[in-house]
């Protein structure tokens, strides 16, 4: 069970990352609920997705309510905040629970779980793949409900025209996440952004 907030600004591919994680959850036999931002806010404004992953209802004990039925995460309840843009950390930091983790795309990484995803994507000559670099980093750091191998398999299954570069970007993020974890970066829990 995991509650993830995915945050950024319109055009960063927030919906795609959410979709990818949700499909990975399904591939692993979980159930999902998502809430998305559509409409005017997509025109460059703050965009946020809520993703809730839980065991299939049928696997629950009879009579007990399913763990997640609402598509929204309450403030102070998210396990992970995936922040594609520094503005997102400010705008959506309050969703994070005490002990939850911000995984952030920052030009100057200053915590164990921040990374210059935009810079890495630019090196791959695919700035639009920033979202997948950050996702790979998150999965590679071992902070998500799903292992990076699973996300990659799901990405391959979903395919698309940009698959090759998407996989490259995901792998670059994954490598960076794995390197940091192996390099002894402490699994520190960060306080919610304030």
């Amino acid at each position: 069970m995991q509650q993830i907030i995915i945050s950024g600004v319109g055009g960063q591919g927030i919906l795609f990352v959410t979709r990818l994680l949700a499909e990975a959850a399904l591939d692993m036999g979980f159930s999902i609920l998502i809430s998305e931002t559509h409409g005017m806010a997509q025109r460059g404004g703050n965009v946020v997705s809520h993703l809730k992953v839980s065991a299939r209802t049928s696997k629950q004990k009879a009579g007990s309510p399913p763990p997640f039925v609402s598509p929204l995460i309450r403030p102070g309840r998210a396990d992970v905040l995936l922040a594609m843009h520094p503005d997102g950390e400010v705008a959506h930091g309050h969703y994070l629970r005490a002990g939850g983790t911000v995984i952030a795309n920052r030009p100057e990484p200053s915590t164990s779980f921040s990374v210059d995803a935009a810079g890495i994507a630019l090196n791959l000559e695919s700035p639009v793949s920033t979202n997948l670099v950050l996702l790979g980093f998150a999965a590679g750091s071992g902070l998500l409900f799903c292992p990076p191998e699973q996300v990659r398999a799901t990405l391959e299954r979903l395919g698309g025209k940009q698959l090759e570069i998407s996989l490259k970007a995901f792998q670059a993020g994954w490598d960076e996440g794995a390197r940091r974890t192996a390099g002894g970066a402490e699994r520190v829990s960060e306080p919610p952004a304030s």
């Binding site: 949700a22 460059g44 763990p67 039925v69 609402s70 929204l72 700035p127």
Partner: protein, 623 residues
């Protein structure tokens, strides 16, 4: 084991309608309802379904098209957002009286928040006013099931049935058991019956009486009764072996997505099944027996629903009812789960939750895309007709607000009628009156702008109207317009010409311009402004035509100019403030502006915008 698939709430509704054997669906795009017809179009193509789907010119027209198909005995749906129902209110009210033959589901998506709308109106009140049933789903899964049930209920009682999802259902995704819609066509059979289909006022009274009988009977329908989903019911009160440790002699009545929030919060508080919770699938008509049982069996009742007190108001006695009427539930804004938690804790006498507020300031405001032709048009308007009154309309171009080129936004088509109203207000000022320049998008012009333009012309109003024609309905996901020249099936049909319509409305000044040719556009707008003020003048219409950059279905060609910032740049910030291109950033005051190469579309309009001529072309390429 069936492998579930992820469905957007709106896709789930589309699937439900198709599973119910819908033969025609008509819609006008509007957030949060836009993806419903879009999903039906996809399925129709994939499964070769024999149904007619259309993006109608507006919601009123959509409603009437669907209603007639239903008169002919075929199952139909009409789909819109809540403010669309304001436009379609006329056929709704009358259609409730005539009733239907084939089932008719009226899908109306509400937008508590509001996230992408002018109002937070509760369409369930429209259902109440029209005396039709309304179903209020709480999840995508339920929305799919309710769509099917609504169709069957409609056909059985020969009454339009409303399905009212909210944004959090429409734009939620959930994994569901997949289904493949099967092709089901039904023979058209319109049985003439003037006393019903063309009823005069005398017969209308009879129809009203029949409607009353229908709605009373529907209130007793088993499938749509409120359900006890948690707790043990009033009879179990005090039965220790089954009941909770401390029984609340209270209950909660909830519908829509608020029901889902409530269940999850009760579970988090360890109170699942500790309090009786009733789910209301059909907020109107609320069965009399349910109201009586609730009021008779509980000391306190909490009603949780969005966005207005529709269920709550149907209780005949409010002494023991908590909700919006006694102020426990806020009367505006979305009932977010954190808000529901505050209400629940207060109702249950629990200590308040620690407050975790969203940051007061911050966040980014939406803006027009880099290279958006609307931005160029707005800049030209401000240059050519400065310090004017700028009525505008509903669409992406509402964001012209950021540029100071939009003063009013009311409802679809109002830009034109309001421009006329402002003209009459300032008419007595003669030559001293300010410029009046209205802006309206192409889809909005077709939707409700044409009658307003005819009216303005025949009432001798004088103003400049700029039709921002990006040849699509951009904001809602690039649905086609009546100028597209083909149906959704690809059948060629006449492409309506905005120029010809404007001319036929009696406008004497009609010109078309590419807003990327910004200097020419400024000159043209000045000319239009002079025409408006000349003795023989009237309304002047300038059509600013360039396809939306985000619409991949349209051919978009322009000379892509790579822009270089020269040392002439003094960092005055004029371009950032008055042009607001998201590809331009000012890191610090008095520092040269920076251009984001990834975002820049190369439209080159900023070359004209800079007052210091500090931007230059570094290279050109065709796109």
């Amino acid at each position: 084991m069936t492998v579930n698939r992820i469905f957007l709430g709106n896709e789930a509704i589309a699937l439900g309608l198709l599973e119910a054997g819908c033969t025609l669906a008509a819609s006008y795009p509007g957030t949060p309802a836009s993806e419903i017809l879009g999903a039906m179009i996809q399925w129709k193509g994939a499964e070769r379904l024999p149904l007619h789907l259309e993006w109608s010119i507006n919601e009123k027209v959509a409603f009437e098209v669907a209603l007639a198909n239903s008169y002919a005995g075929r199952r139909s749906a009409v789909i819109m957002k809540q403010v669309g129902l304001n436009v379609a209110a006329d056929p709704l009210m009358s259609g409730a009286y005539t009733g239907v033959k084939g089932g008719l589901v009226v899908v109306v998506a509400d937008d508590p928040g509001p996230h992408s709308s002018q109002t937070e109106q509760d369409s369930r009140f429209f259902a109440m006013m029209a005396k039709i049933p309304v179903l209020d789903p709480s999840t995508p899964e339920e929305a799919r099931r309710f769509a099917r049930l609504a169709m069957e209920l409609s056909e059985r009682f020969e009454i339009p049935v409303m399905l009212r999802p909210t944004t959090r259902v429409c734009h939620a995704r959930q994994d569901l058991v997949p289904g493949v819609p099967v092709a089901r066509d039904s023979e058209p059979l319109f049985e003439k019956n003037p006393a019903r289909w063309a009823a005069t006022p005398k017969f209308r009274l009879l129809l009203h009486q029949q409607l009353n009988a229908k709605i009373l009977e529907i209130s007793r329908e088993r499938d749509f009764q409120p359900q006890l989903v948690e707790g043990f019911g009033p009879a179990a009160e005090g039965v220790k072996s089954h009941g909770p440790k401390k029984a609340f002699r209270a209950c909660i009545v909830a519908s829509g997505v608020v029901l889902a929030h409530t269940r999850e919060i009760l579970a988090d508080l360890g109170l699942s099944n500790a309090i009786d919770l009733y789910a209301v699938p059909m907020p109107h008509p609320l069965p009399h027996s349910f109201r009586d049982n609730i009021l008779g069996n509980y000391e306190r009742v909490l009603v949780l629903e969005e966005t207005q007190p529709v269920i709550e108001l149907q209780f005949q006695d409010h002494t023991h009812v908590c909700g919006r009427l006694n102020g426990l539930v806020p009367s505006s804004g979305e009932l977010l789960p954190e808000t529901v938690e505050v209400i629940l804790r207060s109702f249950l006498g629990l200590p308040p939750a620690p407050e975790i507020g969203a940051p007061a300031a911050g966040g980014r405001r939406p803006t027009l895309c880099a290279g958006c032709p609307h931005r160029a048009a707005f800049f030209a308007i401000k240059k050519a007709l400065p310090k004017g009154i700028y009525p505008s309309d509903i669409g992406c171009y509402t964001l012209g607000l950021n540029l100071g080129a939009v003063d009013t936004v009311l409802c679809m088509g109002a830009a034109i009628s309001q421009a006329a109203g402002f003209y009459h207000a300032y008419r007595s000022k003669g030559e001293d009156r300010p410029h009046i320049c209205a802006t309206i998008g192409d889809s909005t012009f077709f939707h409700a702008g044409v009658p307003a333009l005819m009216n303005a012309v025949v009432q001798d109003a004088r103003f400049v109207l700029v039709v921002l024609d990006n040849s699509t309905t951009a904001m809602t996901g690039h649905q086609p317009t009546p100028a597209s020249g083909s149906t959704l099936d690809g059948t060629p049909v006449p492409a309506l010409s905005i120029e010809k319509i404007v001319e036929a409305c009696g406008v004497g000044f009609v010109r078309t311009i590419d807003p990327y040719r910004i200097e020419e556009m400024i000159d043209l707008l000045k000319e239009a402004g002079s025409y408006v003020r000349s003795e023989e003048g009237g309304v002047a219409v300038v059509i600013a035509r360039r396809p939306c950059l985000m619409d991949r279905k349209q051919s978009r060609t322009w000379i892509r100019r790579e822009i270089r910032v020269t040392d002439q740049c003094v960092g005055c910030g004029y371009c950032v403030k008055h042009f607001e291109c998201p590809a331009m950033h000012l890191k610090e005051e008095k520092e040269p502006v920076e251009i984001d190469r990834v975002m820049c579309s190369g439209c080159g309009v900023c070359l004209v915008v800079c007052p210091h001529e500090a931007l230059a072309v570094a290279g050109e390429s065709e796109t």
